[in-house]
């Protein structure tokens, strides 16, 4: 089972939920897909396993001796990563998505693709939990290729928990694709509710089963609860607004270690997720052995 923990709004507690779930589960792979600001390792540190894998994207390199400045490459590039000035090709690798089109359309065969580093993937092991983390190099815009490299480490068998980046665009989509269940973490504030609705739109677009965890739950604001009830979305857990939780977090301590009374909450949450994910799989028969409409390969 692959569980993704996501949210529209940042800072709602994705890492708290994913790391504590991993801790109560034990034997699980926890993958930090928030490659712009990976934080899982601050809470679950462990022994590094081997050297970090350097992840690169294939970007064009122009052989000037062969290039005749015809500009077929720059006309083709949808991302404006190539420009031709005075018959010379300028390559803006930070805009390149690595599609390989320029090398293919060049009539002179003057473009070859060379790897450009975008970040690293590191693996650690701590008390039964394998932590895989992607770390985007600063100044690199393109997170999805690195997220794909992190997800390539999802084990074939056993459970995996993915800590997603905030937002609703490409990095989130790259993370959520091919997962079995999405946990959306929110907080009971107007910002939390607004961004939850945006995140719900994304998981619905991706046709994934999901449920909500309300963090810093507050009896004075039930708008999130009302919205979930009306939209037919299961609220899987409510984590109370407890200053001790915030303080433990600030020091980099896991909630279930610092405040063991919260262990049952996360154990129940894990069991509920497993039950709902299994139910969703049964509810969706797969014709001729193919996956759902938006599943891949």
């Amino acid at each position: 089972m692959i569980i993704a923990v996501a949210s529209g709004k940042g800072g709602t507690g994705k890492t708290t939920v994913s790391a504590n779930l991993a801790r109560v589960r034990g034997d699980v792979t926890l993958l930090d897909c928030d490659v712009e600001e990976p934080n899982v390792h601050l809470f679950v540190s462990g022994e590094p396993q081997g050297e970090p894998e350097i992840v690169s994207l294939l970007v064009p390199e122009v052989d000037e001796s062969r290039c005749d400045g015809c500009a077929a490459c720059s006309r083709f590039c949808a991302f404006k990563a190539l420009a031709v000035l005075d018959k010379r090709v300028l390559v803006f690798t930070e805009l390149c998505h690595g599609c390989g089109g320029c090398a293919r359309v060049c009539p002179q065969g003057a473009i070859r693709e060379v790897p450009k580093r975008v970040g690293v993937v590191e693996t650690m092991r701590a008390a039964g939990v394998t932590v895989v983390q992607g770390r985007l190099d600063v100044g690199v815009a393109m997170a999805p290729p690195l997220i794909r490299a992190v997800k390539a480490r999802i084990p074939k068998t056993g459970d995996a928990i993915l800590d997603a980046p905030p937002g609703t665009s490409c990095p989130v989509v790259a993370t959520l694709r091919e997962t079995d269940f999405v946990v959306l973490v929110t907080e009971p504030t107007p910002f939390g509710l607004n961004d939850l609705k945006l995140a719900v739109a994304v998981v619905r677009e991706l046709e994934l089963p999901f449920g909500v965890v309300v963090n810093r739950a507050d009896r004075n604001d039930d708008r999130v609860a009302v919205y979930c009830r009306e939209a037919g979305i299961p609220v899987l857990a409510e984590i109370p607004d407890d200053r001790r939780v915030a303080e433990a977090y600030s020091r980099g301590e896991l909630m279930v270690d610092a405040l063991p009374e919260y262990r049952p909450l996360f154990q129940r949450l894990y069991a509920d997720i497993a039950r709902l994910a299994a139910g969703a799989r049964r509810a969706e028969p797969r014709p001729d052995g193919q996956a759902r409409k938006r599943s891949f390969l």
């Binding site: 709602t12 600063v138 100044g139 393109m142 997170a143 600030s250």
Partner: protein
């Protein structure tokens, strides 16, 4: 970049540290001298406080997306082979032949399949990625946007929002642009800070806040933007606040003040008010940050 218009971008690295609450307060403090821009196009929230009246909406079209015409597809598989984004898949139909289909969510719009399809069976229509709005608020004009769910090109939408904000500022002779930025350090953040005049990083005294600040300061230095740092909820961990401020100074940023932990911030948010428009205790802290950044 016009010398007379100053653009201040508020970012955070880590999400949920209070960027938007600080931005809303800055909007109120600017007293009608600023254009407001919400560049957190993934999960825009500034409108929840500034309650804009929308004056004009414009579709945001960016890039294209590949669509295979099933009647023309011969099922050769060239497209799936060439696609680097795993966006093209073989689909068996209950009736009729097996065909390839493009997953619109995974398609990055590069056009390689379109160009190299031997049967010329792939269309490449423009993609609607969201919309942006020009609005009026009690604090001044505002440009904000809404990215379609699971859409591409948030960086380009950010660039559009900033460009429109600058146009409105010029048109109305307003000297300031106050921009609410996205979290992270990737494409939409880079699109938000390049060419800005001042960046304020709002962080919090937690291990995550500290870690993410280090990366976002590196980014600001990379793009050579003068950077200020303020620690929000500083009193939940005073020692960490101290450490963060030292690290910020060491990285060449200016410490612009501390904002206390204040539950009245959520109360203000529920009342659709900026903190400085209420009698919340932390209002004076936010005013001090505003002054430290050389405004007023």
């Amino acid at each position: 970049m016009s010398a007379t218009i100053q653009e201040c971008v508020i970012i955070s690295g880590k999400g949920g540290t209070g960027k938007t609450s600080v931005t809303a307060s800055f909007a109120a403090l600017s007293a009608g001298r600023a254009v407001l821009a919400d560049c957190d196009v993934d999960a825009a929230d500034l409108h929840l406080v500034l309650t804009p009246k929308i004056v004009a909406k414009t579709d945001f079209r960016s890039g294209n997306e590949a669509v295979i015409r099933s009647e023309a597809c011969t099922g050769c598989g060239t497209c799936a082979e060439l696609c680097r984004f795993d966006a093209i898949h073989y689909v068996k139909r209950p009736f009729g032949k097996a065909l390839y289909e493009v997953d619109p969510v995974a398609c990055e719009g590069c056009g390689v399949c379109v160009r190299f399809c031997p049967a010329k069976a792939i269309d490449f229509p423009e993609r609607l990625c969201g919309e942006w709005m020009l609005s009026e608020t009690r604090c001044g004009p505002m440009i904000h946007a809404c990215l379609a769910a699971a859409a591409e090109n948030s960086g380009k939408l950010v660039a559009t929002v900033r460009q429109e904000a600058r146009r409105v500022a010029k048109e109305r002779g307003l000297p300031l642009i106050i921009t609410d930025g996205p979290p992270g350090i990737g494409c939409p953040v880079i699109a938000s800070v390049t060419g800005a005049d001042r960046v304020l990083v709002v962080t919090e005294p937690t291990v995550s806040g500290e870690h993410d600040l280090a990366r976002v300061l590196q980014l600001a230095r990379h793009f050579e933007v003068p950077t200020f740092v303020c620690v929000n909820k500083w009193d939940i961990n005073p020692e960490m606040t101290e450490r963060i401020e030292q690290a910020a100074r060491k990285a060449g940023a200016t410490v612009a003040g501390r904002i206390r932990y204040d539950r009245a911030v959520t109360v203000a948010q529920r009342a659709e008010q900026a903190v400085v428009e209420t009698d919340a205790p932390s209002a004076e802290d936010v005013c001090a940050v505003w002054r430290q950044m050389g405004f007023e």
